[in-house]
Homo-oligomer: 644 residues x 2
């Protein structure tokens, strides 16, 4: 039932055509270059890409497009096995089941600088089931009108493919009817790679420690330059597991507590030991099975996440038209290596793309790992990942040199891109930090004056008053300043909705208007809130820190102290709606539940409210009633454990 692109190439042409016809309502200034080459990015394109991917991701891609596109990845097998592992991790869950919403394998590779880098290995994702996301997630993507967003996503994917992809065909994603949030995340992630310490995977692999973020949305943690995309997809939990050959990244729209067993199983399954079993049959893949077997040990997972899994049959989602979201594919698998780039899997639901950003033409890529660099199992034999990598790097350097011949097209693409507004010699992105204090160094700077200066088009601006040496540095500094400013502009464009025109002045004007609008709305809401909340002392809470943004402490509770004998009674009153337990409390009220006792305990960083309750009515209080009462009010109450 899910529309699937036909593998017939003529059909792809038709799809591309259809894509071109999609009404695209953007300001006139934003010219979309849809020609076959399509490598030219104007500012509008940049802004759109930044808006879709998030600015940090955009910055990252742009800057790394020069410095790291020579990365060459090596696979850990024909990867049917890897692919199936990932795919099984995201098998659509049943009612009481749990599975991840996406799974990515970041594969170790070697960057030009000699150090390692992680690049796209393989990935799989599925859309969240109805009700799986929290309301926080569900509200996320109302920002843009759907059609516009879809169009932008497709254009961005096409741009990415044109810039970073390895073939001049369109990205297969264009054949998709829709690009869902999760798919967008996956399809965009393909174009990323992470050197040592950069981004979530790069840090994870460098440290050798896993990362388990269970509240991405609310914690605001910035696990990766792709955080924006992840958040846009509503991902709440992100797990990064380093193995000896790369990093496994898992994501879920749910809040999933950390599970050491899962970590262990992932670590072993995606290391080279496990990749020895690449001839394993597809069905009954043990990743989830193992988790099922060890159910009792997944202590931190709530019963829902713990997942009493039903036996999964690979590809069973092929014809599953009975999904809660019939409009979308349930699952999307993105392969790294594909002999026939536009092939469609026999199960009909998989769409595979050749790996981007390797600087190697698609068909030549899959054969890298077979003869020249030896069997990956040999290379990855030792225990320590880092040591392995060093071995790897040292051992295959010459082989990679062989493959290092950049096709001319790759260079051309760089030039095309830079010709739009700026040259490729942008600052290497200060990933992770605020870029305020770290954007001075430009590691790729030193090589441009000699080699790239004359081949750069440099059509804009005055002709160089050549001959000086001191001003040259000055020129470079000024260039970087401009580039930084422009990055900020793109970033601003990304956060300001309804930008009237694409030029800077209008952008600033819109941003100002938007800020004023937001401020006004906040004021109004605050006033409203104050009206209905009786205490309303928080107006004065602002006195100390004038930082406009009211709404600091949305609760500035009243504190009342009374001494009774040698004890003191402290009363803290606050508006109900800002209280963490408000949903439960309100559910109690609505269900006419009597609270016999209410206690509060606090650990180092957690507050635990305990309510002993009794039903008001005659019928006994059942777990189901409670769950209904809670979830009727909100379904963000994640873990309703069984009544003992």
């Amino acid at each position: 039932m899910v529309p699937v692109p036909n593998k017939d190439s003529s059909c792809f042409a038709a799809l591309s055509n259809q894509f071109l016809m999609i009404p695209f309502c953007m300001p006139k200034l934003m010219k979309i270059e849809m020609g076959l080459g399509g490598g030219v990015w104007n500012d509008g394109d940049k802004a759109m890409v930044a808006a879709v991917l998030g600015t940090r991701a955009f910055d990252y891609l742009i800057s790394s497009s020069v410095s790291s596109n020579e990365n060459s990845c090596m696979g850990i097998g024909t990867d049917e096995n890897l692919h199936n592992k990932l795919s099984d991790l995201v098998e659509p869950p049943n009612a009481s089941n749990f599975s991840w919403n996406y799974a990515i394998f970041w594969q170790i590779s070697r960057s030009k600088s000699g150090d390692w880098a992680l690049c796209w290995g393989d990935g799989s994702c599925r859309e969240p089931k109805e009700g799986e996301e929290s309301e926080a997630t569900r509200n996320l993507n109302l920002r843009l009108e759907d059609e516009t967003q879809q169009t932008m996503r497709k254009i961005v994917l096409q741009k990415l493919h044109t810039l970073f992809g390895s073939s001049d065909e369109y990205n297969g994603a264009l054949g998709l009817d829709r690009v869902t949030d999760t798919e967008m995340f996956l399809l965009a992630s393909m174009y990323f790679s992470f050197p040592r310490g950069e981004g979530g995977p790069g840090k994870c692999f460098a440290s050798g420690k896993h990362v388990w973020l269970s509240d991405l949305l609310k914690s605001g943690s910035d696990y990766c330059v792709r955080s924006f995309l992840a958040k846009s997809a509503g991902v709440q939990t992100i797990v990064l597991v380093p193995t000896d050959v790369g990093v496994v990244e898992l994501g879920s729209v749910r809040c999933v507590g950390e599970s050491l067993e899962l970590l262990q199983s992932i670590r072993s399954l995606f290391s080279t030991q496990s990749s020895l079993m690449r001839s394993k049959p597809l069905t009954g893949f043990p990743v989830m099975g193992k988790r099922r077997d060890e159910n009792a040990q997944l202590t931190n997972l709530s019963p829902v996440e713990r997942g009493e899994g039903v036996p999964k049959i690979f590809g069973q989602d092929l014809n599953s038209g009975n999904s809660g979201r019939p409009r979308y594919r349930e699952k999307l698998a993105v392969r790294k290596v594909e002999e026939r780039p536009w092939d469609v899997y026999s199960n009909g639901n998989r769409i595979a793309f050749s790996s981007p950003r390797n600087g190697i033409q698609g068909s030549s890529w899959p054969h890298i790992h077979d003869a020249k660099q030896g069997s990956p199992t040999e290379i990855y034999a030792s225990q320590s990942p880092v040591n392995n990598i060093q071995e790897l790097v040292n051992g295959v350097r010459d082989d990679f040199r062989l493959n290092h011949y950049q096709p001319q097209k790759q260079v051309t693409m760089q030039i095309d891109f830079s010709g739009a507004t700026s040259r490729p010699s942008v600052v290497v992105r200060p990933v992770g930090a605020d870029s305020e204090n770290s954007d001075a160094e430009a590691p790729c700077k030193e090589e441009r004056p000699g080699t790239a200066d004359e081949r750069r088009p440099r059509k804009r601006g005055r002709k160089p008053a050549n001959g000086r040496e001191e001003p040259l540095n000055h020129v470079e500094a000024e260039r970087q300043r401009r580039e930084k400013l422009n990055q900020r502009f793109y970033a601003l464009r990304a956060v300001v909705p309804n930008i009237s025109k694409m030029d800077k002045a209008s952008l600033l004007g819109d941003a100002i208007a938007y800020i004023n609008e937001l401020q006004a709305k906040l004021k109004v809401m605050e006033a409203d809130r104050e009206n209905l909340g009786g205490t309303s002392r928080d107006a004065s809470a602002l006195g100390a820190n004038p930082g406009i943004s009211m709404e600091n402490q949305s609760q500035a509770p009243d504190v009342d102290i009374q001494a009774v004998h040698d004890e003191v009674v402290v009363r803290v009153s606050c508006p109900l709606d800002s209280h963490p337990a408000s949903r439960v409390i309100q559910a109690f009220k609505e269900a006419q539940i009597t609270v016999l006792e209410s206690k509060l305990a606090a650990t180092k960083d957690t507050v635990l409210h305990t309510f002993v309750i009794k039903s008001q009515g005659s019928e006994p209080l059942t777990k189901e009633k409670l769950i209904a009462a809670f979830s009727g009010e909100s379904n963000s109450i994640q873990s309703l454990s069984s009544v003992g």
Copy 2:
């Protein structure tokens, strides 16, 4: 009781001195030039002015400083009468009374282009009484720390006076102890003038139709370039009434429904028919009296606004130290024309300033209207305002030409100002519209290349590759583009709080962060609101652009349910730092206080936490210790009532 500047000039010097001593905490980059001349505006000054006045107002002033400072205003009399009329409109109300918070008369004048323009005629204002403003209003001006805001206001007023004022003395407002919101609005409004169709008054007069805005804060309507200032003053209702000689502007912090009778009475009272009665005694002025008499007909006014007025005695507020706000003057009257600019009225509370922006030195100005242009009553005799204006313009053109000699000082001021960052030849402000489609024309452009080009400092940038003629226009266009961009930057600086550094990149970064912060907060509030009240539909006001930022529900608490016999234990755990009582709890911990009992009770919309505590140590728990513990952790705990 209100400190009033002494008219002794030595005292003014002392005041200026004191003014210089006011601690002013602005970023270092923001140099404040406080020299006596003070005409140089650097970017920091501009940013500050824009921050205080609002960006549109700032833009407007800057651009019109060149094109319209040749406006020459003509009074409609010695204006003791006019002044009293306005003053009576803002007589401090009694408990059940109503009066406006400010009243301005915008006086018709003739601009250089031959068309008319409205410029400051006279004005009067009073501070809102306690409880008069809504809470929306009350929260408004907590934005900046009070001292900083006061300092900025005074500096801005001084800057305005230096730039636009007619004498090189300091603005008398500097003698005020404090500049309240309303006063700031009035004092800044003095420097505005409105050509045909520009700003609220200009539009109002051009159309001949009155304007009655009764919810300025909520509707976000932009009645004038001074909207920001008006909103800052908490003004909710603004009324513009065209008469045949100008526009009367009234404002109130209340929401006042439209009253045809009031409109009518204003219209007649401030037209020339009424200005014939300029010898009328001061007391018992009939404006408000008429309204009192026609109470029953003010149908749209709520009983409070309808105002069962008590008889007012002009000047009665002179010694009224029993106001709800003893710190402020209750009333401030700003005259346009003053023979002795720094004179203080006999009632002690009025401070008068000479009219700014006329391009005519103070002492010469008041005599314009007496002999040369004839009596205003003659000129304004006919009925239609527009016809009158045409007569006026035609009839007195030569007289105005006589006065058109710009004193050299005026020119010097322009140069000083432009010398800071840009030249005065900015685009004539596209007031009222979004400026996006109307900022192409630069009416004052044609006269500068010839006259101003060589006297302009032009220290920056390359030396002109002179000799061409075509690029000169291009240069000019580019200049204007830059200027526009910079205006936007100033504007952005004005709306973004906590700007870390003053450079553009940091500004943009801060703006982006701020937008994200605002979006997040709105999201949180929206989510909260949606959770608690089914009624609130205004969350959907944002529906179109819900904004990106994640950060929904800062609480997604874990809920655990366990049945024990017929009771059920519900546990809600949540992070401590998002808990309303977190500060108290943390204070307990740090003070090693034992919590004997902790209860939670909830009313309809409030949660009350009760802690019975005991000190761990030997010494008894005192209220002081508790308060110290609480406030040591945070000073946002405002109300620590006494231990009973």
